[in-house]
């Protein structure tokens, strides 16, 4: 057994000290009829070498962002992670410690959490942050619960259809047994229309939930939406993309009361969906309703600055059934990674990362919708083949949405207007993701074809939005090069 010290001599001495006759005797308090009197039906033990070989074989059966060029998004992104993040977060003193119950021997973790909270408040423009929650989806649900309890409105919450569908599903799960109605506002134009929101928000509404940029990558008129909610006495729960805040207005600056996010973009690998980092920040007046751990500054007995877990009277180990939430840990390791990541990037690095995402995604969109660029040159033989003529205008599929923006987007970078297979599904401005409509309505086939050509080209949307069955979501991070983008465009021809 690789992780056990005890020799047979040790065992004998220990059993003698205990006064037990055998290891089996130690389990005397487990009633015999409740015991499993056979070995577990599990595969036999592997040595480290065998395990490593077995796992390498399993890993080899997966494609990944290193074997296929990744244009997948929808809440998890192939952003670059500087080496220092891995090296520092890989220190055993960080990752093999636990929740800092003993502040005197946990000042490292506690200071990191304090720095994390400080960074998140600067990032979001809100007053306070907790030490983090499980992930973006559960953070959104916790944000909604917080809004419900602080407004004391147990009637309904209003959620935009442009919020991540899995966040919406999570919110629904969290609210189902509490008798709170979830009203979804449709977003046929890819963004929430203020009049649609105003039609459903009333004095029973605890909060609205919007996402900026939203699940389709579109930039919402968030300030207008926030004032509709506030006029009705409702709070604004905003899901945001931390990278976008290198350029976009911060949630606290456009009216969000509670901001939540998936923090994976800040230095955490995609690892098939988790573990990630649930970011949550809010206005100061809401802090007693905030779930999760919070670190605070204080002094020790000699007057030296130090950090502790604080405001614990909100929490389950003290309040039990009256707690703000059952959450009892944070995602410490990923809060650490985000803190290191943001410290490495600084304001300029975050802005440049956001700008690269913005520029490259727009270039990619214009290329896919309008054809290859004039310059820098691509060898003529690699130019796209003549397109089959499109037969129907599938933009009728959803009301109000057109691809008209694609023409203007492309004007500055493309040679001629192009009779493309694709058009943007929505005219609204986008940040690092966009929704493409396949005029031939053969998304699955197209994505398989792209896969064969070496690309994870997009996330099909029909699984969540039947009306967008001919659409897919494309994300372009700072890692994607011009040549990768152009190759993708050629492969989708």
């Amino acid at each position: 057994m690789p992780y056990l010290y005890t020799t047979p001599e040790d065992q004998a001495a220990m059993l003698a000290a205990i006064g037990a006759s055998s290891l089996d005797d130690l389990f005397a308090m487990v009633p015999p009829e409740l015991r499993l009197n056979r070995p577990l039906n599990l595969p036999p033990a592997l040595t480290e070498l065998e395990l490593t070989q077995h796992m390498a074989a399993l890993a080899a059966r997966n494609e990944h962002a290193g074997t296929k060029v990744c244009f997948l998004g929808g809440g998890s992104y192939d952003h670059f992670i500087p080496a220092a993040v891995d090296e520092l977060a890989g220190r055993g003193e960080f990752y093999t410690s636990y929740t800092p119950y003993q502040a005197e021997v946990s000042q490292g973790n506690l200071q990191v959490v304090f720095e994390y909270q400080s960074l998140i408040t600067r990032l979001t423009g809100l007053d306070v942050s907790n030490a983090s929650l499980y992930d973006g989806g559960s953070a959104a649900a916790e944000g909604v619960l917080m809004a419900v309890s602080s407004t004391n409105r147990y009637g309904k919450v209003v959620v935009a259809a442009s919020v991540h569908p899995e966040y919406r599903q999570t919110i629904t799960t969290y609210l189902k047994d509490l008798g709170i109605e979830v009203v979804t506002v449709g977003t046929p134009t890819g963004v929430v229309r203020p009049q649609d929101l105003a039609a459903v928000v009333d004095d029973k509404t605890a909060c609205i939930v919007v996402q900026q940029p939203n699940f389709f990558g579109c930039i919402e008129d968030a300030a207008s939406l926030a004032s509709i909610a506030h006029d009705a006495g409702a709070l604004v729960v905003a899901a945001f993309d931390p990278i976008s805040l290198g350029l976009l207005k911060r949630p606290g600056d456009w009216g969000a009361d509670i901001a939540v996010a998936e923090g994976q973009s800040l230095g955490t690998p995609m690892q098939y969906g988790g573990p990630y980092l649930g970011i949550m920040a809010c206005r100061e007046k809401l802090i007693r309703r905030m779930p999760g751990r919070i670190a605070g500054e204080t002094v020790d007995r000699r007057g030296r600055r130090c950090f502790v877990l604080t405001l614990q009277t909100r929490e389950q180990h003290i309040r039990r059934e009256k707690a703000t939430s059952n959450v009892c840990t944070n995602q410490g390791l990923f809060a650490l990674r985000a803190t290191i990541y943001l410290a490495l990037l600084g304001p300029q690095g975050l802005k440049e990362t956001a700008n690269l995402c913005l520029q490259k995604s727009h270039y990619c969109a214009s290329l896919l919708c309008n054809g290859v660029p004039l310059a820098p040159p691509v060898p003529p033989r690699q130019h796209r083949q003549p397109q089959p003529p499109t037969t129907a205008d599938s933009s009728l599929h959803t009301s109000g949405a057109t691809g008209s923006a694609s023409a203007s987007l492309a004007a500055s970078t493309t040679s001629t207007s192009h009779n493309s297979r694709f058009q943007l599904a929505f005219a609204a401005p986008t940040f690092k993701e966009f929704v493409l409509r396949d005029k031939q309505d053969r998304v699955d086939e197209l994505l398989h074809q792209a896969l064969d050509a070496g690309f994870l080209a997009g996330v099909p949307l029909g699984q969540w939005y039947p009306e967008l069955n001919d659409c897919f979501l494309v994300a372009v991070t700072e890692k994607r090069t011009k040549s990768e983008i152009e190759s993708l465009a050629r492969s989708l021809d």
């Binding site: 992780y3 410690s97 005197e104 973790n109 690892q271 304001p347 690095g349």
Partner: protein, 519 residues
């Protein structure tokens, strides 16, 4: 030795114009941002993050790390948290690009190795628990509790539709339970009723009888319980709950004591969660991540969150979206037919839905899988045997100078009480905890469970040597004999002395502001 310059706050180390990470120049034709982003949504400037160089960042965090006690560096007998050794091999495997760089929305055909691993883990967890079905989705133990209670709520909703009866509204929780149990029950819309436990740690059966009626939906029990004993009346408790029409939920926090010894499904549980970060050695990460997979009986399986991983037998060409349950047969053959493939099953109409975004805390689950494969059936049993051996050995040494109300035997942990020391000499459990830090030991859990006064909860885990346990016992013995003043002022050798918690709560300073005093 200690470098206090580089452990100032990041904001205090910042100097305008300093850069660490640099990005490549934009290689696509660049357009003015004002053309792409509406003016009213554009920030005037980026957030005020600190500006640092890379060596500064590295030195800052490397020095901060050294202010922590961790399993890699110290004995960490934090009761109820199972702070066992975190195998390095699992860390390296989790970093393989074939696991770490998978996007959650990749097509199933590109993640067959991942899905196989997850499918097999579902099977292993079912076998270890003696239950029929598994969801890997919950993100932590408390999240697993909540998920299971939602499953129970959905089950009872259907039952009351079938029978026309009232919905059950109560969840019974022993007073020794983790605080997450009642908190989870509230979040799932249930009313919590507390059931008393006896000094021995066993459930008060009379009190149970008083509270048991046809409004009880779920009885939540931690077994082995939080004082480290196996519930003597487990079978009877489960039978009585079942007779009353309720479900039994097992808080799996203490599974480290019973791997291959006893299975919750065999002793009456209908549902349980695991803490893979405890039992199966996932590193605790300074507070997280964990994971909270749950296993349930067959009748509850339709209510599990979506998706679950299913194995599709080689000859079937396309079944995803049609299978409503995971294949019930145990499929523990490490080399399934190459014709088999693995799929995500979303077509589960009775499911409670999602409890989070994406599949689950895969990185933690992967380490759990590695741990189970490293040990095999015999090894897992030996883990529990040694965890129980170590705890009993420490108990046999400690009980002579620190009373252990529950008695002379325990499972994987035990709870001593400083109650008498407190009344005789004014020495509190917290004083002992703080003084242990001076001698290079992490403190045990103190003041939990609430059912024991001045509780000191000690869980050594199986990965400690007899020498370490002896050293800890001797230190503890010396500490309780020290002058009370020495203990009240402890710790004396750590980088800070006891912090002022009251000030932290009364005058909360939760973020850095440039006016914060520097030390």
């Amino acid at each position: 030795m200690r470098n206090t310059r580089d452990t100032k706050l990041l904001f205090e180390l910042s100097e305008a114009g300093r850069r660490a990470h640099r990005l490549p120049a934009c290689d696509v034709p660049e357009r003015p941002v004002s053309e792409l982003v509406p003016a009213n949504m554009l920030a005037a400037e980026p957030p005020a993050l600190p500006e640092l160089s890379e060596p500064q960042v590295v030195r800052h965090f490397a020095n901060l790390s050294q202010l922590n006690i961790s399993v890699d560096t110290h004995f960490y007998p934090l009761g109820s948290c199972t702070m066992k050794y975190n195998p390095k091999r699992n860390e390296r495997i989790a970093r393989l690009p074939g696991f770490a760089d998978l996007h959650p929305y990749q097509p199933e055909s590109t993640i067959q190795g991942m899905l196989q691993m997850l499918y097999e883990l579902q099977e292993y967890l079912q076998e270890i628990s003696g239950l029929d079905a598994c969801s890997l989705q919950p993100a932590a133990g408390a999240h697993g509790e909540l998920t299971a209670l939602w499953v129970a709520a959905a089950y009872f909703r259907d039952e009351s539709l079938k029978t026309g009866g009232e919905r059950r509204t109560k969840v019974l929780v022993p007073d020794s339970a983790h605080g997450t149990n009642p908190a989870s029950a509230s979040m799932a819309g249930f009313t919590t009723v507390t059931v008393k436990t006896l000094t021995s740690g066993a459930l008060d059966m009379d009190d149970l009888a008083r509270h048991l009626d046809d409004e009880v939906a779920v009885f939540m029990i931690t077994n082995p319980n939080t004082v480290g004993i196996f519930e003597p009346n487990m079978r009877e408790i489960a039978d009585r709950i079942h007779q009353a029409g309720g479900l039994v939920y097992l808080d799996g926090a203490n599974m480290n004591a019973i791997l291959g010894i006893a299975r919750p499904g065999d002793f009456g549980a209908d549902m349980q969660h695991y803490n893979p970060h405890k039992t199966f050695s996932g590193p605790h990460g300074g507070g997280g991540p964990g994971a909270g997979p749950i296993c349930v009986t067959e009748k509850l399986a339709p209510y599990l969150p979506t998706p679950v991983v299913v194995r599709v037998e080689g000859r079937e060409s396309r079944v995803e979206g049609q299978k409503s349950n995971p294949t019930p047969s145990l499929a523990l053959d490490p080399r399934p037919s190459t014709l088999d493939r693995y799929a995500l099953d979303y077509a589960r109409p009775q499911s409670i839905g999602r409890v989070r975004a994406f599949f689950g805390n895969v990185g933690v689950l992967l380490r759990a899988y590695c741990y189970i494969r490293t040990h095999g059936p015999d090894g897992l049993r030996r883990v529990s045997e040694n965890a129980v051996l170590n705890a009993n050995y420490l108990l046999s040494r400690v009980k002579h100078f620190l009373p252990v109300p529950q008695g002379d035997r325990c499972m994987h942990e035990f709870v001593a009480s400083a109650s008498k020391l407190k009344s005789d000499k004014g020495i509190a459990a917290m004083d002992i905890a703080k003084r242990l830090l001076d001698f290079g030991f992490h403190a045990p859990t103190v003041y939990f469970p609430l059912s024991v006064k001045e509780a000191i909860m000690i869980e050594p885990t199986e990965t400690e040597s007899k020498e370490t346990l002896d050293a800890f016992a001797e230190t503890l013995f010396n500490v309780v004999g020290e002058a009370p003043d020495v203990l009240h002022d402890a710790p004396h050798t750590t980088t800070i002395s006891r912090p002022d918690d009251v000030r932290a709560a009364r005058q909360p300073v939760l973020t850095y502001k440039s006016s914060n005093a520097t030390a």
